[in-house]
């Protein structure tokens, strides 16, 4: 239970429940009112997105989470990022988390590439001065020229958006990085560049969570992983074994 010195992330029996159906609507209000008048508790339909998930990830590790759509991968990552809280169990994270969910999560279509990097970086909690200093480096890494950096991102291609978002995230210091399906639209050249950069982050003591349906990419980036199946842990182990089992089960090969 107590904080174990080596672990960057430690999950103990983490569970997460969601309520199903519309959270507020006139029929529901009427229904709830009728239940209250009848002195009966309202009947909630709940969905177990995660159930009894335990694992540890150490600093310097790149950890994969495998699983089909709806297996709870993103829910788990939002809990690690402190975006939502577990319904049960405990999750401890050491240091700062930098989450990147989907491409351009925080990007505003009307703002330029430059303005978006500044906004995104600052929203992630990075001092404005540091963002401004890193701006050129981010643009270079994303391979976006200065004219595009001055153009509203609504006119960017998906690939450009994902490169810019990824480059922004990579350039800021954190202890735990989360990359959830963010390289889907990037080309192979950019993917290998990012793989090298993630390797560098690991060597510098960061823990990295990486999710992708592209198993070959996951295998080249991660050392260990966890297989989630309908919100439960099916296996945890070295990535090669895990990926083979996952593929063999017809989980979802690329």
């Amino acid at each position: 239970m107590s904080s174990d010195a080596g672990h960057a992330v430690q999950a103990t029996s983490v569970g997460k429940k969601y309520e199903l159906g519309e959270l507020a609507s006139l029929p529901r209000t009427a229904h709830n009112l009728a239940r209250v008048l009848a002195r009966r508790p309202p009947n909630l339909r709940m969905f177990n997105a995660l159930h009894d998930v335990s694992f540890t990830v150490d600093a310097g590790e790149a950890f994969a989470i495998l699983g089909s759509n709806g297996s709870g991968k993103s829910t788990l990552l939002s809990i690690i990022a402190d975006i939502t809280r577990p319904s049960s169990g405990e999750l401890r994270v050491r240091g700062r988390v930098l989450p990147l969910f989907s491409i351009a999560a925080g990007f505003h279509p009307e703002l330029t590439g430059r303005e978006n990097v500044i906004m995104f970086g600052t929203v992630l909690g990075i001092p404005r001065r540091d963002v401004l200093l890193a701006l050129q480096e981010v643009a270079d890494f994303a391979e976006i020229d200065s004219e595009h950096m001055a153009t509203p991102v609504k006119r960017f291609s998906e690939g450009m958006m994902s490169r810019l978002a990824f480059a922004t995230a990579l350039h800021f210091p954190a202890d735990v990085y989360i990359f959830d399906e963010v390289l889907v639209t990037a080309d192979d050249h950019f993917k290998s560049k990012c793989a090298a950069e993630i390797e560098w982050l690991r060597n510098n003591g960061a823990a990295v969570f990486f999710i992708s349906h592209e198993l070959s990419l996951v295998r080249s980036i991660c050392s260990r992983g966890m297989w989630l199946d309908a919100g439960r842990v099916r296996a945890i182990g070295p990535i090669d074994e895990l990926a083979e089992d996952y593929e063999a089960s017809d989980g979802q090969p690329t």
């Binding site: 959270l23 939502t84 989450p99 969910f101 009307e110 303005e115 906004m119 600052t122 929203v123 992630l124």
Partner: protein, 248 residues
């Protein structure tokens, strides 16, 4: 909070995108309302404003009210408008409410400048009371932020709030001494108006710019009301915030 500041800049920048008159609306809005008020309250109803020219008198209230309504109208949606930020980043959520209120500050500053210009144009002097205006503005900012935080948080769970707010704003305009002075309100009813904290802020604002004496009871009630609202709003926000990503 740097995050709140960049988000405020974002909110302000996108406000006048693809708008032909752009920031000119900052002046058109209050002047338009002033025109309507002058016709109704000075022309039709002939309200007594104890020696102060009616347009000056009304501009003060309008400055406060344009800011409050701009904040509440957009601020109620400050979290639901930024669904992606709430669901996909761990940015501090209060920054979105602070940004909504901060980005509306030009809608306070421009009418204030217009008021001051009008005071001089009418040949009225400005007193030392003007030095207190920043403090009164800070009070207004705090009060509006508190209400925005609570309404925004409630709106995440129940969108009913966004249907309720226009109605609240319409009623509030009549129930605050924006277009008429407190002195014109019959006894008894004026006590009800003084329970509305905006009444106290408007009184203080008028005192600061026009030097007209502020109603003591209105100030005291508004001060106490602001503290209660600030505390209650923060409690509401803190309680609801943890579930934002789940229910937004």
């Amino acid at each position: 909070m740097p995050a709140a500041w960049v988000l405020a800049q974002r909110d302000f920048k996108v406000l006048y995108k693809q708008s032909a008159l752009g920031p000119l609306w900052l002046a058109i809005q209050p002047l338009g309302i002033l025109g309507a008020f002058t016709v109704v309250f000075s022309g039709v109803a002939d309200i007594e404003t104890s020696g102060v020219p009616y347009p000056l008198f009304a501009l003060v209230g309008i400055s406060v009210w344009t800011f409050v309504s701009a904040c509440l109208a957009t601020g109620t949606r400050c979290f639901t408008r930024s669904k992606r930020l709430v669901r996909l980043t761990n940015a501090p959520r209060s920054a979105l409410a602070i940004a909504a209120v901060t980005s509306a500050l030009p809608q306070l500053a421009v009418p204030v400048v217009l008021t001051l210009a009008a005071v001089l144009a009418f040949g009225e002097g400005l007193g030392l009371e003007l030095l207190a205006l920043p403090l009164v503005a800070l009070w207004l900012y705090g009060l509006t932020l508190a209400v925005t935080l609570a309404l925004g948080a409630l709106n995440v769970r129940f969108r009913d709030v966004s249907s309720f707010v226009p109605f609240l704003l319409q009623g509030g305009l009549f129930l605050s001494p924006i277009a008429y002075p407190l002195s014109e309100v019959p006894n008894g009813l004026d006590t009800v108006l003084k329970l509305n904290p905006i009444t106290g802020v408007v009184e203080a604002w008028r005192w600061s710019i026009l030097g007209s004496p502020a109603d003591g009871l209105a100030l005291a009630l508004a001060g106490a009301g602001t503290l209660v609202i600030a505390f209650a709003s923060w409690m509401i926000f803190v309680r609801l915030e943890v579930r934002f990503a789940d229910v937004i």
